[in-house]
Symmetry: C2
Subunit: 685 residues, 2 copies
Amino acid sequence: MADTAVRPDKHTAPETEADARVDVAGLTPILLGTWGDIRLEAREMITDEAFWQIPGQSYHEHRERVLAQLKLLADRGAGARAFPKEYGGLETQGGNLAGFEELVLADPSLQIKSGVQWGLFASAIYQLGTKAHWDKWLRDAITLDLPGAFAMTETGHGSDVQSIATTATYDVETQEFVIHTPFRGAYKDYLGNAALHGRAATVFAQLITGGVNYGVHCFFVPIRDENGADLPGITSEDDGPKGGLNGIDNGRLAFDHVRVPRENLLNRYGDVAADGTYSSPIASPGRRFFTMLGALVQGRVSLDGAATWGAALSLKIAVTYANQRRQFDDGTGSETVLLDYGKHRRRLIPRIATAYAQTFSHDELLRKFDLVFSGENDTDESRQDLETLAAALKPLSTWNALDTIQEAREACGGQGFLAENRLVGLHQDLDVYATFEGDNNVLLQLVGKRLLGDFAKQFKGKDTRALAAYAARQGASKFFHGAGLRRLGQTVADLGSTARSVELGLRAEDQHQLLTDRVQQMVSDVGARLNAARKLPPAEAQEVFNDNQVELLEAARAHGELLQWEAFTDALSRIDDPGTRTVLTWVRDLFGLSLVERHLSWHLLNGRLSTQRAAAVTRYIDRLCNRLRPHAQDLVDAFGFAPEHVRAPIASGAERERQDDARAYLAGLRERGEAPTPEKKIRRS
Amino acid sequence: MADTAVRPDKHTAPETEADARVDVAGLTPILLGTWGDIRLEAREMITDEAFWQIPGQSYHEHRERVLAQLKLLADRGAGARAFPKEYGGLETQGGNLAGFEELVLADPSLQIKSGVQWGLFASAIYQLGTKAHWDKWLRDAITLDLPGAFAMTETGHGSDVQSIATTATYDVETQEFVIHTPFRGAYKDYLGNAALHGRAATVFAQLITGGVNYGVHCFFVPIRDENGADLPGITSEDDGPKGGLNGIDNGRLAFDHVRVPRENLLNRYGDVAADGTYSSPIASPGRRFFTMLGALVQGRVSLDGAATWGAALSLKIAVTYANQRRQFDDGTGSETVLLDYGKHRRRLIPRIATAYAQTFSHDELLRKFDLVFSGENDTDESRQDLETLAAALKPLSTWNALDTIQEAREACGGQGFLAENRLVGLHQDLDVYATFEGDNNVLLQLVGKRLLGDFAKQFKGKDTRALAAYAARQGASKFFHGAGLRRLGQTVADLGSTARSVELGLRAEDQHQLLTDRVQQMVSDVGARLNAARKLPPAEAQEVFNDNQVELLEAARAHGELLQWEAFTDALSRIDDPGTRTVLTWVRDLFGLSLVERHLSWHLLNGRLSTQRAAAVTRYIDRLCNRLRPHAQDLVDAFGFAPEHVRAPIASGAERERQDDARAYLAGLRERGEAPTPEKKIRRS
């Protein structure tokens, strides 16, 4: 084939593992994933410094800058990708999110402000509204002629959207909805575009008609006039400076009996006729609510991607610096490069492995999202799976971003604290990713409940005796694992094993088994305990739940980790270059074993690992870190960031120059005989 | 006694443990510690809003504000406390630091800028200089008529001060030192007061005279004229915006053959005569260097205190909010208070325990500091102990502050991200505490090396056979612990134990034993391995060191944790009120067991805990969290912060008001029969 003929053959299998090298240029497209072309396009666009964050700007200046950037984006059509062609769109769902995620490299405020305008405000119109709404508002929302706020969260209700207190009461006389904020805690809060730039809002409120509350629905409500003044009945407040994302004008909105036409109800999932009769294609109020919320899952999906790139960027900066910076004499008269220190390897290299795992699991999430939202596989079940997957992955990646960026910042010392080197800004901006678009713990609880539901299905139709027998069996099996034969057998096997077979005892299948067993065991443990409490009065049942909440969240996290591991392992099979595959297999092992090490006491207490094998985990991780050390730069280079995306002076080669200058100067002194004699030497003589 | 007669008797022993209550007002002075009076005085001063940080200021405005605050402090004599009465001082060492630490509540920038001016710049003049220097500069440094920078760190050398590259070469002709920056990496960097406000600097440089380098010494160097312009030969640069502490004008200084009189050498530990002859009261260059650096240990000491108060403040905010904020229906129709959730208890209450432990260990550190610097117990050994203690505690408390503040911020959700609620600002400002005044990992390594030194002393004079025998014994003992009899015995005992005796099996003595054994075992493990590598060539020995570095740092951390635990336990004996002592004993147990839980896999792998007992650790922690839940507010109130110190609107009672309003509104609707019917109910009927 012509293709093979012109390509240089990089794909020769390495002679030995020690020869394995990463094909950096070949790996980048694999990391960029399914919508790599759109990612590259976005990255190309933001090489323009007009899109870059300027450290040290006041929040007033920063907000204006990001608004101007948003207009640039709109001019380039970036806001249209997800929407129908009729409204100027490209109808690409996964690609749309992929493109937005990359904006985190320019300025996370821009990423999130785009998300507010197009991922939330315009999407609410599109996903929750119908054609009349689209015709009326969608084009202007896409072009930013109509900047909008997404008014869901209230001061008194964040992740518990179902309990929001804003009301939309239908007035059959005037055929209007009356939007009202009944008390201070019901102010809409933390809304991007609410403090300054929004002209309208998609407002979530309890729909009341004929004295009945039909639950949360979404309404289109104009909030400001052409001059930016609040419309009658609207109060807006500024949330003021925040911990980060200060390019966004977050604020509060309150409504004092604000009237909107009946047609402003975004009525895809529920409608009110002129006479006040309510109707909905979804009979169950609960399912209707979750369907509406599920239509907006893209926020969570895109945070998973953006957080992953944020972590990757911080690793690119810290690893590059750690490969150039020297500190402390190594005993040979030369100073040691930071990444040659055992501690430095251990603090950075396993985090590269996590970033890799997340890159792969995010692409899977994005593909699932695309299948559902393109309509290709849009069933109740696939929507639920998508929501569970997003709820499992977003907490892990956003927390991991904070952890990784902080470690990267500390690994760069004082340089890491300068705003110009970006790590502190990334941490500040991504901080809130852990609690918005669903608080991480609340999301993990959703996942946990789903896992419990799957667990309970095993017993459907069985009587209580079967349940009791199951619980007893669980106890027995736990005791068996915890103190008995299985461990003993493993111990015996380990005693006779060579170093190599200990490694084999931690190979992919074993990692998979350990990660899978942990999820299953934790879910069944919690499930059995909660099941036993089913018949208690609510307050007592709640207390039993509380006593198990930590473990349930931990089970959900374990589930997310397993999904990441599986995505990484699946991705290995898609890598053709043998050297790259060898190195990435080590990276995957490092990821898997780091997970096992993090929960090592669980595996020991539950008899899943003998002490010998458990001790081998840490040793093997150390060995993998050493083995990967020469590949660390390749691995972060493969993220494919251009200098315009990195921008941190310490990762620009300036540190290498400084080190080279210093070494040349000292060498020059020695050559010219001008180096002063160390005091120690004259004392000896 | 009159005293007993007028005091209300709060000190009756509680009838049962369930009756135990914290005497909040009585506990506060115990937490404030030895210099509580000075702390209270400082806290009283900063109730004045002139000292408060204003969120959202530009870094330019913030720098000017903090400079003005520093002048206010100087006017009130705060800069003088540590210095001799002759120069307007109070000669209180511990009290001086205690007073400065409290400034973190007003604005961490103010705390650190004070530290730069008086704790570093003026202290260098005082601790490293002699009377002529004091007479010349000390008064003006104290009054802030002479603002100064402390020019130690270089771009190319942070924690490795011994290798800095700035030179001070004695010119016998002119009797001057020539201060010079030989290359870019030798720029002095990250210096407070260097970008704008400093008029002089205490500059650390390699002292060269007669062609010999006598190592790092400190020189007084004027840097700016009265109008703030750089003096000839001086280049200053601005470090620009940072991740936090933006009230401080950090910057860089470079010297192009800048000449200062011979007398500007701060000559307490080393001097150069007019003819160029070097002399020092300390013959060993190494010991001389560490003595000079040790004279400036107060920076580390005060960071330990400030970080502890920062963490405490964040807990005060988050616990207060968690006791007022409600979220999600609890199944009884009412919404649950956050702190009633199992996860919320687990994320906040153990962190209160850590803050308590640190409060006590910090007071011990401060007392040791006072004994040394007051001259009461100033020996080589006591100085070394002080430095080791500071190096062990500062990393733990500064990292803990970041962890606790971040958890507090997330526990407050979106509110936690607003700058007005202070958590994000505290995290940003305290971030750099982990890497300045000695990078945390570098400090832990110092501690680790000291521990290894103590370990090696056991073998002093013994031959290599003794060492080999020891190493073999260690191996045997590890195997014994890891797989054998000791664990078996414990298992048997545990099987027969009741829940209560399992608790007893984790009582104070057991906690102490576990924590102590861990330090000893880790140090001897690492020590034996490093000892075996003694005779290897430098590069190979360095590799062995690197392979053990992570464990050495972990051993140092374990040592610091043990010290904190011991300080907490000692403090319990000083508490008279029985209710307070009961509750604080639970808090201490929670602290101790949280440490054991964090390292649970180590205890299991090293045979220090049976699986049964290890499993009991987590259960007991859960029980302690539940038991302490009703005391959580008392425990954070006992930190003694006034509203002017807290200042976060969410911890002001505003949230309780909002919740009460909401509940009153909904109750009113129900009473008046105006509450809409939930859709579910009409469907059922």
